[in-house]
C-alpha cells in the first residue's frame, strides 16, 4: 500500500566499498552531489525510486538507503533535514574534507 508523503522526497545511501554518501539519480545511478538527485513528488514516484535503489543494494553497490525530505538550494535538490544536509556537505568542522572539497570521486571505479 502506498504510504503518505508530506512533500518532495529524495534518496540517500552510503556506497558499500567506502561508505561514501551518494544520492540517487533518476536513472538509478548515484552521485556524490545532492543536486543531481532525483526528486519524487508523490507516493508512486517514491516507490519507483525505492525499487531502483533496492536494485543497487541487491547489486551490493550501496547500503543504508534512506528516503528523505527534499528541499531546494540554488534551484537544485538538497536534503531538508540538517542531518542529511550534513551528509551532502561533509563535516562542518572540517571544510577541508568531505564532499564539499571534491565530489569528483564519484567517478572512481571501485
Amino acid at each position: 500500500m502506498a504510504r503518505k508523503i508530506k512533500g518532495p522526497q529524495m534518496i540517500v545511501a552510503n556506497r558499500l566499498l567506502d561508505g561514501r554518501v551518494v544520492f540517487m539519480k533518476a536513472d538509478g545511478t548515484w552521485s556524490a552531489v545532492a543536486g543531481d538527485a532525483a526528486v519524487a513528488a508523490d507516493e508512486a514516484g517514491v516507490e519507483a525510486l525505492e525499487v531502483l535503489a533496492q536494485k543497487s543494494a541487491d547489486e551490493n553497490y550501496v547500503l543504508s538507503i534512506e528516503v528523505i525530505d527534499a528541499t531546494e538550494r540554488d534551484g537544485k535538490p538538497f536534503p531538508a533535514h540538517m542531518k542529511f544536509a550534513m551528509q551532502a556537505k561533509g563535516p562542518s568542522v572540517r571544510p577541508d574534507l568531505g564532499y564539499q572539497v571534491s565530489p569528483a570521486w564519484e567517478q572512481t571505479d571501485l
Binding site: 552510503n14 566499498l17 567506502d18 561508505g19 561514501r20 551490493n60 531538508a80 568542522v93 568531505g98
Partner: protein
Amino acid sequence: MYAYDKYDHALVNSRVAEFRDQVERRVKGELTEEEFRPLRLMNGLYLQLHAYMLRVAVPYGTLSADQMRTLAHIARKYDKGYGHFTTRQNIQYNWPKLSDTPDILQELADVEMHAIQTSGNCIRNVTTDQFAGATADEIADPRPYAELIRQWSSFHPEFSFLPRKFKIAITGADIDRAAVKWHDIGLVVKKNDAGEVGFEVLVGGGMGRTPVIAKTIRDFLPEKDLLSYLEAILRVYNEQGRRDNKYKARIKILVDALGADEYARQTEEEWQKIKDLPIDFPAEEAARIKAFFAPPPLQVLEDNVPAVDELAKKNFIFGAWLKNNTNQHKVPGHVNVTISLKPHGGIPGDATAEQMELVAALADEYSQGELRISHEQNLILPHVAKKDLPAIWTDLDEAGLGIPNAGLLTDMIACPGLDYCSLANARSIPLAQELGKRFDDFKRLQDIGPLKIKISGCINSCGHHHAGHIGILGVDRKGEENYQLLLGGSGAEDASKAAILGPGFDENGVIDAIEKVVAVYLGERTDGEEFLATYRRVGPDVFKEAVYGTR
C-alpha cells in the same frame, strides 16, 4: 607493558583472517548487509554519516611509542591524516574504506592491537586511570587487573551476546580519574585491615537517557576472586537483563528494578555456585601479568629543579602548563605530563598523524617509550623527569600541543556530534570550538580554575554531559539545533548527576549562558573554592536567575 604471548597473537591474527574472508564475501554478495553488519561491528567497524568508522581499542589506555607510530601510519595511509581519541580510551578513524579494513586490522595485529569488542553487546575495552602505575596517590596499579579482565572477557562465549553493551572501569587510586561510578561495573582498588589488596565493587552505573550512579554491592572483594565474582555479576545480568527494549537493556535498569541489595544477593548466590570452578587466575598467572607492569627503573631525583621554576616565572604559559598539565609521580623528581588535545578553536580529541609521531618520539626520549590515553581525550607521557619539562614543552608547543589547559574550562569532553555521528541530533564540536575562542585567555582560565565542561550531541551521552560540572546536551528542536544546559555533575569519586537548569538555547545562547554561569561562580565563591563546590553550596537558583532572569 603487557606483551602478547603466542595465544594472543594466534587469536588476533585468526580474527583478522576471518574478517578478511567476511569482507570478501560481503563484497561478492555472498553475505547480505543484514548478515554482515553484526560481523563488522564485532570488529569495531561502524557506518557513520559520511563513511565507515573504525574504533580501535587502546586497552586500559596504555600504549607504546611504536604502537602510536602505527596509529599515525594508519591515519596517513588509510584515512585522512588524523584520528580521534575517545572517552573510552579508544581511537576512531573517520574515513576508512571497507575494503581496506582487513589490512588496517593486520597492521594493528602486527603491533599487538585490535578492534575486537569495541562495539556490540559484549564487554568493551576496560578503562582505567590514565596515571595508573605512575601516580603518587595510588594503592595499586590497576592495569594488571584490567589486562586479566581483558583476557577473561575477550571472546567470552557466554558474554558475547549480552542484552546490551557492557563497560567496566577500574581505579587504583582514591581520586577517581576513570569515572568508575558511571560504568556498568566500577572497581575501586582497596586494601583491607590486613593490608591485602582487593576491590570495592559497584554495579549499575551508566549515562545515556537514564543516567544512574553505580551502587556498591561489595565493600571488599579479595583480588583472587575478581574474575569469578565478575562472572557472577554478568550471569545475573545476562539472564535477567531486558532484551525486549534496547533503551531498558543496560544493567542499570535491572539493578534499579531489583534493588542493589537484591542484585548483590543474587550475585552472591550465583558466585557461591561457581567460585570454586577454575575461573579465577592462579596466583602464578597473576604474578606473570603483574610483572609486565613492573614500574620502570626510575632514579630518585630532586623535586626542586631551579631551571624549571625559573622558566615558569618568566613564561606564564609554561608556568600554567607546569601547574595544570603535570601530575606528581610516585618517584620523586618525576611527573606525568598531560598533553592537551583541546587547542582553543580545535576539535577535542583529534590528533594528526604528525602530532602522534611527535608524541611517540617524545615518549621514546622522555617517558620510557610509554604513552597513555585519558578518558578526557588527552594524551599522557608518564614517568617524565621534571628536569626534562622545558624541552618537552618547547617541542609540544611548536606542534600546537603545548596548551596549558588540562582540567580547566576549555579542557572539554565533546562527542563527534552531528558532524560525524549518525545517532547525533546536534553538533558538539562547534560548541567546543566556540567556547575555546570565547575563553581564549589563560590568565582568565587560571583564575576560574578547575571546571569540567562535557558536551553530548544527543541523549546517548557519549560526551558525558550528565557528569559535567557544566554539561551541554544537544537536541533537535523542530529541525533546529538546540542545547540544554546542565549544572552540578561529577565523574569523580564524588560522582553526581548534573541537573537541567532550564529551557534550551541556540549555539550562541548556550555559550552566553555559560559565561553568565561562570560570572555567578566568580562572584559567589569563597577563597579557593572550586566551581563544583560553589554550585553545591549555593544551589541552582542563583545560576538560574542569572541565566534566565527573574520569572
